[in-house]
Symmetry: C2
DNA sequence: CCCATTTCTTAACTTAAGTGAACGAGTTAT
DNA sequence: ATAACTCGTTCACTTAAGTTAAGAAATGGG
């Protein structure tokens, strides 16, 4: 787990042993059981998550219906908007597999960033990169049909389709569960 | 225009007169005529844009069709993914009104950031904030129908509907121009 | 000023997604 | 063991978006 983290960090900046130890001494690793809710609508939080193992999802409850909007798996980072905007959360975050997470607090990050300017640089690079990825993702979503989105997901994150319940996948694709079932049946029919 | 810029920056960090002059001496302001293409598909570029006045859009050409995915107006910042990823651009950027832009080069930013750590901090804060906004935007898009998206846009960016051609708005909403026409007629009918 | 082009709207038809209901399979709780 | 849920699928029906075509309105260039 430590290695997974440092491999990730090394993509952005190189750390000395001292710096690595400084991070480890913060004791950020958390084991989280499947089904645990990490953040609820209306809550204020300063926690960001980095997934070392497992899967977490973000979802809204709109008219009593769960609407899943994102999945975060190995090596994915999530800082909920409420942490940035210092507002109550608009969505839920929950754990859909037994997971190992790195949980960091924004107060702590401020402190670390001022002590180690390298972290400031890493955070900037990381959020720029995530923003670019997010933009491309959004663009692909906008420019394609539900069927294309599903086929695209099948290419890009085939694991998700295995490890995530269908009704959560459906809202991730912006459609109803019944439509996802139908759409998959349609695709199978085309192949034959 | 200078004031617009410094007002914007002051939301993140406070600058000394020297720092302000340092920025101005970089001579980043550009007047751009309506219709100008700032970036083409396949091109490599290191330029980021900040809109002081006017409007620019990003679009793809897919199967010969323009697909507009974003509009940037006053006080909006755009760093195309190709600048972050150092890859050829997947989309076009063009100017849809006579505009005044601040155009900054990523090489230059690296230099400025190392000279003034304040800028590094500002860039981090800015991209974190943009990422949070983008996430919420994407979530709203996923969880709503084309009609809801249009009504939502009418609330949040009513100016866009005035200043932007309908067929560009349509792909921004993820639908065909004909569907946007129909949808608007439907809404008018409901009101009466 | 006029022609060519682009833009927007409308209409008819096709296709796919939304909706409500029902069913079986698998899970959980009692 | 059985009842109560959840989950995924299927069906019939409704609604809305995609598609193709046509025409009116606005725009731009010569």
């Amino acid at each position: 787990m430590k290695n997974t983290l440092f491999d990730f960090i090394s993509k952005y900046v190189s750390l000395t042993e001292d710096e690595k130890n400084a991070i480890l001494s913060l004791d950020l690793f958390r084991s989280v059981k499947k089904g645990t809710t990490l953040l609820k609508e209306g809550q204020k939080s300063k926690d960001s998550y980095f997934v070392l193992k497992g899967c977490i999802r973000t979802y809204y409850i709109i008219d009593g219906e769960e609407k899943t909007t994102a999945f975060y798996t190995e090596m994915d980072a999530l800082t909920p908007p409420c942490v940035i905007n210092k507002t109550p959360s608009e969505y839920y975050v929950s754990c859909i597999e037994d997971s190992i997470l790195l949980v960091s607090n924004s107060d702590m990050e401020v402190e670390v960033n001022s002590k180690f300017p390298k972290f400031e640089i890493m955070c900037r690079m990381l959020s720029e990169e995530l923003l670019a990825k997010q933009q491309i993702n959004f663009d692909e979503f906008k420019t394609s049909s539900p069927e294309q989105r599903y086929l695209n997901l099948l290419q890009k994150r085939p694991d998700l389709i295995q490890r995530v319940p269908q009704h959560q996948l459906a809202s991730y694709l912006g459609i109803q569960p019944q439509s996802l079932s139908r759409l998959r049946a349609r695709i199978l029919e085309k192949k034959s």
